[in-house]
Subunit: 419 residues, 2 copies
């Protein structure tokens, strides 16, 4: 069978799987998730063996140690993967939830009820845990999935997928509900982008910018993806200096490689002399390079110079650009110009300034007096996430099981006809 | 300026208009709508004159009287158009509404707040009132719009658009918030489908199947559209015979050309002898042609024969296909196979059968003991609609002002940092 024919067949099987998941009870889908978690623990050794093969191949190609670290599994990481699946199993089932109820003057009773989306194709890169996380969120939300793992970790993904299949089967659900593309051939991605003959309802790219941009440019079906997190933390003149230090240090340095990391610090001129030096000192002590505009450099000796490109660079590294602004209006203007609509924060004691900031900044997450690193579905209480959407359509911000649903209107009458 | 350059300029202006609408208060947008309604009444005569020119041109091209009727405005129709805009003005403003609030164990307070989508491009055919309706819903939901009217009613659209601009300006909003493509050149549609340099967030085609299919096939930006309403009414064995007659007659014949009209009637075999004859009699008396399967024809003398194509034909005409089924399972199977996911109804006294039907049928609207012709945003209480989505992404079912919004998460802390 050619690759295209194989892929089309996967699409057809996914439709069957979607129908089984859609009509299964919440208890059945929970049982599948629990059995999948148990299978991940039972299969820890074969998963580690498969992962060792992936790691060896990657090493022989001379990839960076950072990539090896993302790729490598340990018994603890497998236990964490199983634990995450158990958390999704315990998460309230979204399907059938009524999110609105109302009655019209003619007596018709309306209810808006959550339903699955259908078949999701999820294309990701080299983190093996995504295979388990994505499968779990799809099962919880009643969506069939076609998973396309990065070729770097395909052996790991296949071993993890065996546990997914075991979980589905144990609960009486068909394995075709969650399928994994079993070839590293990049043409398989191209096939997914066509929608496999109308069988795919939504594509979710999860990975670097080049992957997301390729998917958004070429896909013939809807895409839910995030581009970058070009995030700002803004220190209003009213900010508490100690809080400013703690929040900025965490927002930048807790993990520099996550999409919720702050990349630019904005400081009100009126308070910059008081606020910026302790913040800069803490950052530099933690190993962060600072690149400032003239206003910032005048206050911090030895700070490097920010160029125009710095204001739109998602470093994902221990580097922070710093700009002194005249006040809230200039801060918002800078954010709306350079931000990517991901996560923005203000530190302020003045609640009117904070409310204005939260109202006027157009981003998926707008925080007041908290670190931008809270941009994460788990921290939102969503029981895991498949990514953070910077789109304004369908789902915006962290995408958990609830955000992977649609709805239908259930209308109950007593014989009403329309005049 | 070439057409492409003109269109790109429209896109840039729409972005400015979107920012003005996004940051305007609800009161300002309500004032714009009220002023727009007043301007429609004031400009009734120039609108009628422009419409007369459209009608003359259409007549000289020999279009059908049905099309002339859709195209032609009267003083009463203009008053109705202004009244519809006033209803949208009075509708609760969706922007800023919190649709969820929760607090996490670490004290972070989350709020999910409605925001606009951005810039919508709405492509429609020959109903002049769509210009006013679409403009009103976009202003209410804070979205800028680029309207592309059918060339048949471009003069009418231009005259109505002048009232839209007057309303916006009266409220201090820029006219570029709602623009109208002022050329009948079909290349303008092609330009809109490219997204105008990333300035369009969502395309909404509103018209016949060929328009929607072209937009879905060629668009490089997300599309919200409905294809067809291949809707069923299912008479369960427990149906009340009088209710069955009233509901089916209304569902098919109230208006045969709307997307909520029933196109296929399903009847349980066990009760068909009792239920079908009075329903068929009422339909035939109202001028409806019936095309049945063998089971139906055995009960109704003179009924025509349904062919395979009838089960998937959206007649939009006084024709109804009729099939006798063995029970709920076969009815659902038929609907899931041939239905378009638009609107489905069951007539039943048995509430367990009704609940099973409403749970398992995968359509945007699933009614129990009510006419499928209630598929309409106004009947849902949405204060107007821009169409009915058969997609499961973003909005499903009637699309009113609320469905034209996105959301953002507003998070309030006391200096929280992420461990």
């Amino acid at each position: 069978m050619t690759l295209d024919a194989t892929m089309l067949e996967m699409g057809r099987r996914a439709r069957t799987g979607a129908e089984a998941l859609r009509t299964a009870t919440a208890a059945t889908r929970s049982a599948a998730l629990s059995a999948m978690a148990a299978a991940l623990r039972d299969r820890a050794q074969p998963i580690l063996d498969a992962n060792a093969a992936d790691v060896d191949r990657a090493r022989s190609r001379g990839v960076t140690e950072a990539l090896i670290d993302r790729l490598a599994l340990t018994p603890a990481r497998i236990a964490a993967m199983a634990g995450a699946v158990e958390e999704v199993a315990a998460f309230p089932d979204p399907l059938g939830q009524a999110t609105a109820n109302w009655t019209r003057p003619n007596g018709l009773a309306f209810s808006r009820v959550r339903t699955p989306l259908g078949v999701l194709a999820i294309i990701y890169e080299s983190r093996p845990n995504v295979t388990a996380d994505a499968a779990a969120l799809c099962i919880r939300s009643g969506n069939a999935a076609i998973l396309r793992s990065g070729s770097d970790c395909l052996d790991s993904a296949l071993a993890i997928h065996a546990a997914v299949t075991e979980g589905l089967t144990a609960a009486g659900l068909p394995g075709e509900a969650v399928q994994l593309v079993d070839t590293p051939d990049r043409a398989a991605v191209g096939a997914l982008l066509t929608g496999l003959g109308g069988t795919i309802d939504l594509l979710i790219p999860r990975g670097g910018r080049s992957l997301v941009e390729r998917v958004q440019a070429e896909a013939r079906v809807p895409v839910l993806g995030h581009l970058e997190g070009m995030n700002h933390t803004y220190l209003h003149a009213s900010a508490d200096p100690d809080m400013a230090v703690a929040v900025v240090l965490n927002a930048k340095m807790r993990r520099v490689s996550v999409c919720g990391a702050t990349e630019t610090l904005l400081v009100d001129r009126e308070a910059a002399g008081r606020l910026l030096p302790p913040v800069a000192e803490a950052l530099m002590a933690a190993g962060c390079e600072l690149r400032g505009d003239a206003g910032a450099r005048a206050l911090i000796p030895g700070m490097g110079e920010a160029e125009e490109a710095d204001w739109s660079t998602e470093y994902l590294a221990p580097i922070l650009s710093v700009k002194v602004v005249e006040g809230l209006d200039e801060a918002v203007e800078h954010i709306n110009r350079y931000g990517s609509g991901h996560t923005e924060a203000i530190v302020a004691e003045d609640s009117f300034a904070a409310a204005a900031f939260q109202s006027v900044v157009d981003a998926s997450i707008v925080l007041w007096n908290a670190s931008t690193q809270f941009a994460d579905g788990g921290e939102f209480g969503f029981g895991g996430e498949i990514g953070i959407s910077t789109s304004r359509l369908h789902a915006r911000g962290p995408v958990g099981a609830e955000q992977l649903t649609s709805y239908k209107y259930v209308v109950t009458g007593t014989g009403q006809t329309r005049p």
